[in-house]
Symmetry: C2
Subunit: 105 residues, 2 copies
């Protein structure tokens, strides 16, 4: 199962706009990508400008589809405007064990 941990840094003073962009993106992924099984957005406790995504996809096709959606294009445009683009990091992981309970929705 392809899994992604991605990190973005919000521009200082642009947090409100950046968080709005993130909420819009999460809603679009939820409504339009059935193969996106998790798309969770976090802030680290020790870094209020950083954003950490945890994303899991049903298969490689679902991940590829995600990268090519119109909302991903819109989101990429917003990265330059409200985030510190050079600090963006994307890490690909393979799940090897563990569980997620149905209460985590």
């Amino acid at each position: 199962m392809p899994t992604i941990i991605a990190r973005l840094t919000m521009q200082e003073g642009k947090e409100t706009e950046a968080l709005e962009v993130l909420r819009t993106m999460a809603a679009a992924v939820q409504s339009e990508e059935p193969g996106a099984l998790a798309y969770v957005i976090h802030r680290p406790k020790d870094n209020p400008l950083e954003i950490v995504f945890f994303e899991a996809y049903a298969d490689d096709a679902a991940l590829q589809a995600h990268m090519q959606t119109p909302h991903m294009g819109t989101f990429r445009s917003a990265i330059g405007e409200f985030f510190d683009a050079p600090k963006t990091k994307i890490e690909q992981l393979e799940r090897i064990d563990g569980f997620v309970r149905p209460e985590l929705s």
Copy 2:
């Protein structure tokens, strides 16, 4: 919802034992910690020795309980034996948006 991304590095040549320790730990968390809503173990595609945990707990009490379980004590002992303990990293996150579908189990 308290969320953790933790990273461990397996000692080279001890991968088999390290992976067995991880499987035992995941099974214990699943069977004994109802407040652990996710405990997923991954390997990064570009670093076969690294292990990345994604953990989500129902509340702070569930996270605290996790840290004090007997299986956590056993796991901590194994870290020195099969993992490169100084490379261990634990990051605390707060979830701010997004979703997990029930298909992700």
